[in-house]
Amino acid sequence: MLPFLTRRLIVAVLVALAVSGIAFGLMFVAGDPAVVLAGQAGRAQDVEMIRQAYGLDRPVLIQFVAWLGRALTGNFGTSLYFNIPVAAIIGERLPVTLVLGSAAFVLAMLVAVPLGILASLKPGGWLDRFALLLAVTGQAIPSFWLGLILIVVFGVWWDMVPISGTESWRGYILPVVVLSYYAMPALMRLTRAGMIEVLGADYIRTARAKGAAQARVLLVHALRNAVLPLVSLAAVQFGLMLSGSIVIESVFAINGLGRLAWESLLRSDLPVVQAIILILSLVYVTLTTAADVINAWLDPRLRSAS
């Protein structure tokens, strides 16, 4: 297991570096950051001054190496837009994203996995049809629209929850529901499909023939094998939720990393964009690595293969 983990760690760091490098280059390909920073009222001479003031006149590679050098020592620089340290901004917004993403992920899993298992017991039954209906609507309804409808009903009509912001924990209720509703269908479908496949396997018949209880058959024998692909998908879904759904953050005026990344990209706030990309790429590789480790633990065959 240790060599496997070491290899994955090295790959993780290389991936994060590669993503950072590509992102840095793309920022320049997308348009001159100095022009973006100068704003719509910026004249050519303002652009020139900004280019020099922020060192944007140096070769992109040199700028990247300089940024990397600082980032490795934990210095992510100062936001060009807010004129305060990037670490302070991220420190402000990361917790919001962690709470939102984690809560939505947990809720999605709590609904998707039991529902997927129950639906698989009687394919075509009423519960299965209900679960599939839930999945189809979750996939089909645009999350910004669902968000707005919930805002109107629960925020405007009934005034039960805040409409925007996360000044109190109640502000998380609607966005968590919408985000999890969006993530739930894929998790549910995969659980259901995996369970249906596994429940038809010989070893399940054997377990049942030996008189094992239904709960034991489902949770110990079947689920362990059925969840292998689910673990990988869950890691990606969790990553998506942590990188933030820009749409949901916008609708509910939640100031998480996703929207910060998007806004910073539009305003060419290079230090902020780079720091977020580094963090998110590390999150993704950590999550996918964790998924591989969990799968290896669940299925000994994978361990020997690795």
Binding site: A30, Y81, I84, P142, V152, V156, W157, V251, A253, N255
Partner: protein, 507 residues
Amino acid sequence: MTRFAIASLLGGVALTLFGMSAQPALAGKADDTLNVAFALEPEALDTYKIAGREGLILARHIYDGLLYKDLDTGEIKPALASAWRFVDPMTMEFDLREGVTFHNGAKFSADDVVYTLNTVLDPNYGTRFRISVDWIEKVEKVSDYKVRIKLAKPFAGAIEMLADALPIYPAAYFKEGGSAGMAAKPVGTGPYKLTEMTPGIRYAFERFDGHYAGSPKGKPAIGKIVVRTIPELNTQFAELLAGKLDWTWRIPPDQAARLASRVQIVNGPIMRIAYVGMTVTAKGKDYPTKNVLVRRAINHAVNREAIVKAFAGGASQVLNAACNPKQFGCAQDVAKYDFDPAKAKALLTEAGFPNGIDIEMVFAAMPRPVAEAVASDLGKAGIRVTLNEQQFAAGVQKWRAGDLPAFFTNWGSYGTGDVAFIISNFFGGGADDMVQDKEVIDLVTAADQAQDRALRQDNYAKALKKIADQAYWLPMYDFNINYGLSASLVFKPHPDEFARWWLSSWK
């Protein structure tokens, strides 16, 4: 169906649901708090490094300048300076007001003016718009309450700039913390002090009881202001209807009409105008727009009246001169090009293009439907347009490189009511000038540098006349803004896009 159309449709459903909501409450009147929402995040509140309107609005509540422009009367009033005069054409002298206190308790004096302005005019400081300070050579202290500004060049816009656009910071505090310090904890002499800030997200203000007597901004009627960023307009509307918001702006015309029966919608014209710039001269390029007949054809081909009516609405109007009529010097006695596709075709034929022409038009910071309407009108007159939407930065880069025959965008003149802030940029011979008409450049430069208002007006008028005669631009229309207000708020919009909440009150 495009994503925009789907979003509009679904937004419409949501708005219909809003219409079924209960009566809005009184929002912030009950606790004397003006609840404001912006869609965009305000920048760091060091005015000198801000480009966005949101941050500038907040900054004007925190800071004061030497002078103040009363936009309702057009009068320049004393602010931190109690009087001012030109000692000679290149020297301005200011008597400063005594007894003014900063939010941190520091006493205002000449040192604050000298240190602030000398610091921000140093190129190393990185003042965002050089045009705002590059006319100052240096600032000298004459006595504790008297300063002199030595001009680096004659600049007719000096008074406009000093009127609240160049705020004065407390010298000792500014020296200690620099720009970052001002951004982290802004301190000024303004009518409101900042009490709480989560950068870009939430700003809380409290009326500054120590604000100097006799300020042209007056004593604010509202005690507290809370500004939040709510990027999604539909969410803003929900807050407004639920009585949790008192002020928001930039509401699209169709949505303003829907909301009008539920909340106060106030419409006001602004300084920003839409235009199509055309390249006359660019190195190595030979665009059809080089030909004056083609440019005139373009002017005749677009049905601007219909476009304004369909898309801009409100107080917007069709423009003829290359400026906003609300600006000083924006002469209206210029050539007018009526909508006349037949004449446009005839002009093209006369120019040697009987089969029409093909041009690329990039549009940026303009709604796609408006650009499509312009392109469609041009197409009907035989001017086949390849329409290309770009981010403003990318578009303006191509424009400055001379890679575009036509660029459809807008310009806000920094919210300043003087044509110096528009035609000097586009026709004064600089990087944005793809016309490079020597006669116009000379007229504009002379007007920019003169102090005599009549002379300035005369020179600008001549320049604008030639710009229209030669159809260097297709001036489109001026913009208007819809403000959404709670029923209990009194708010007056101003054309410079600066919300003045210090003038607001409760009904």
